[in-house]
Subunit: 303 residues, 4 copies
């Protein structure tokens, strides 16, 4: 497979599309991003790297981090994770409180905000220095020491994150947050503020495609565990558009409102895209389109 | 009408009923209350007072205070109040977030918690020293200087009020709270912690029955304004049991989880009951029963 | 009280308002009505009649009939009616299925469509010739033999009444319809097709204001029973605008999408209005406005 | 891969589990089935057949048929199918009306009842003799002339199918059913009454695993089309347990309340299981368990 050529085609075809969608304005710091940024990076299971466009520029990975926090929690707690959060698609917006009320404080899955807050609470309980230790974990799995939180973004999110504060307090009222609400929110806003390039993001997700082994060869999760998390990304990774993404792209993945997407073909490749313009469901328009082109052009699909 | 005799009959018939319902445990400080307390106080429009049982004992008026905060806000803002909160029954539990999400942060009415938080926000904006000034207002309308907040209850409520914190943050995320969330919650927890005897409560509500004039003769609201707030209490005063209360009792009123109820027959009387055992909708079992007996025995009803 | 003068003022003030709202198009036959029709009729407890405008013209009473079917069912079954339908405001649109699903097939109240279908089922079970017998009942309480179903409207409603068919089947699936779904729907579409003038409608509702006695002096329901149904109309008579109507008008009443409203001041008067333009909640704009003017001008209110 | 040995192990391990779950009672005719029936049939892409237990006995495939009707509609209408039905998981029970109301009559996906009714309506519009032609299609793709409707089951379902009648009328009220409601329901009840053995079911699903080509080599759908329907089965095939099934089994599939499941590993095998005891989400307990064992024992998974 000539990935270099394929990425070039995807990049050019995508760039020529009329621009649509808008940069997220929910976090003031993120609203400043140039909506025309666009990058793709693909890493094969044999460690070959292919990047194009703005793939070397740092961006806020936001909710893409939810796949990494759940991986870390899973490595500690294994199936116990699912006592406090489900594995079902929500059929609702990512920040909805409705279902949470009907289902008594057990979030549908770890990729909606409520679920990610419960996972954050687990990490706060299980890590000695939660923010520092989580950053170490990210640097370890990606093999990249240059990854950091963006403290301005974390602060900006904290100042405007009333919906997340509502969710965290709501979860706490159901007894599904054990730590202090402020501590959990602080951790959550930091994890979302992580900045990576497309390449770093692809490398961070490498172990999902590589039966649990990171790009530097370390076993992060068991083969069975990554299989399960991949399945979960497939059904729930794109909020209330997970079905659409599965239908069109057919790869497990996770998106974020910073415009990033990480996706993977088990035992084949990891790919990360970045384009900040979002569709109305909160997913990157150009990123989703690029990944659809990727599966079409390579003919590779798990289905 | 021989109210003394009627109250005696109601008291005795009610006391002989099998006990049912439980004291609310949602606020630890309130959970300590003796469930067998029971008092009634009725004040006629001609200033005659009739009390029986524990009617002279202080209790936590909790949500009954919502009728008093909305009255104060109404006196400042008149119809502008309804730009931020509705006048419709909710058809849901008093602390539900569901409807609030569907209706974009405009609470259904000022008597569900979300609505009362918006009213609290209005008072915080309009009063110089919100907690002190509201207390002064209560003392003025009731003609009773001995009314106070119970700071222990306010503190207890704050420590466990995650659902209310969720509601306040949720409202803030929709832009329907202008002040700091903590400030609004602090005011709200204080207003709920107000302690009164049945007599003091009846006197506080006197102006609702007296075309806007308080027991000491001061015009608190206009005739038209109290008519409107009475109508609102009729449709929304008992959470998701407002229809049942209207059906059985047929008087405007407001209940609280401390077990208190204040109700009134316009131009005739005000009545306050207290019994801490609540039914599953969160209203005082014995209090509702006593008020049903009252309208049956007096034959007085607005319908 | 000079009702003749007051009605004249209301009529003129209302007529001079800019027209707004639209005639309901949900039933093709009703969509043909002239939107500018406007009539009011008021009957005092002393049998004085005051009419103005198109008050002598027949119109389709539609959901106003729900107050009359529940009265008839109540006369047979008394409190047993409430084993299959509630007395709470719904907080939802009149034809919503959502709440019905959450509450397992027990409609919130007899004035939303689901509740009216359950009442229709009760009548089908309790009347020998349901449609004929119900018509006789209407003629009896109104003292008017000229009242009839409009078979064209009933047929039109049947042909397009898929939402009602959905509700009836849904209720049946929960076991809350005992008869054949088609039979119940047929009865329901007929009751809604009843045609009356404002005067006939006011006379039909006379017993609600007259402690249960009809205009010809017959006891239709007990004093206590009409008190209860009046309370129910107060909290639930105007769909999801019942709170607004109570807030502004403060009288028990029932509206229909034909543009009719019947309302009453217990022991004082009954009033019927007709104006086919509806607001977005499905209630007659001009009718609601006229009734608000009526309580303002007379200063009469139950609150 | 020694499938014969693996099926034997799965069969024995499963049989030794304590029985749990109950046979569906929603359709009287189906309630009569012996709950202890259990069969598995696996067909490899190379046409090798492996069966065990009651795999040669006919059972009612019920909702498994929804994958086959959507395939047929897709073959006619291609992407136009999605103008009237979505591709997202519902996050709700299979027969819920709630989401349908909020989403204005566009069912979430073709595998919940509402969606399947819309697909049925498409087939009624596109087939000359809908029931006969659909049966022909099933016989063609399975290569088995012995497949038939069970008219008793279809009749039984019609007599008790009030929830489905509610859904169909509800869809019609939104304009998303073009044909007569009774005709669509009749087709739907017939498609659900289809009877197959595990072997016949596996053969019917063969084309999903075989890039669109049926077991007799006929191209039923394009390679891209089956990829898309497989993706859809992955996210939505097991009602509100699709996430759980994907998490545990990781294969696209479709279940039915008759206790049948069809699943597949693209380009590898098709497998059908039958065990009538259902869990609380309406999926076959033993069937799901057997398929989880199958992916564990073979180590084969798409993730």
């Amino acid at each position: 497979m000539n990935y270099e050529q394929i990425l070039k085609e995807i990049y050019q075809e995508s760039k020529s599309l009329p621009t649509f969608g808008n940069v997220s304005t929910s976090i003031p710091e993120l609203a400043k991003i140039d909506g025309n940024k666009f990058g793709i990076h693909l890493t094969t299971i044999n460690h070959q790297d292919f990047g194009i466009g703005d793939s070397g520029e740092k961006f806020s990975i936001q909710s893409v981090s939810k796949a990494l926090t759940v991986a870390l929690a899973f490595s500690f707690l294994d199936e116990k994770v699912w006592e406090r959060v489900g594995v079902e698609p929500s059929g609702s917006a990512f920040n909805s409180l409705v279902q949470l009320e009907y289902e008594k404080g057990i979030p549908r899955n770890p990729f909606i905000n409520a679920g990610a807050l419960v996972i954050a609470d687990m990490l706060v309980s299980n890590l000695e220095n939660p923010k520092e230790d989580f950053l170490k974990f990210i640097r370890k799995i990606s093999g990249c020491q240059a990854i950091n939180y963006n403290l301005k973004v974390a602060k900006s999110e904290k100042e405007t994150g009333f919906r997340n504060a509502a969710l965290a307090n709501f979860l706490k009222s159901f007894g599904n947050i054990n730590n202090n609400v402020e501590t959990v929110l602080d951790f959550y806003f930091h994890q979302c503020s992580l900045e990576m390039t497309c390449k770093e993001l692809a490398h961070s997700f490498f172990f999902f495609a590589n039966e649990g082994k990171s790009i530097s060869g370390e076993q992060i999760l068991t083969k069975s565990q990554v299989k399960r998390l991949n399945a979960l990304m497939q059904t729930c990774g794109f909020y209330d558009e997970s079905g659409e993404f599965t239908y069109k792209v057919g790869l497990p993945g996770k998106s974020g409102i910073g415009g990033g997407i990480a996706a993977l073909f088990p035992k084949n490749f990891v790919v990360a895209t970045w384009s900040p313009r979002l569709n109305e469901k909160g997913n990157s328009e150009l990123g989703m389109n690029a990944l659809e082109l990727l599966t079409t052009k390579t003919g590779m699909s798990i289905f």
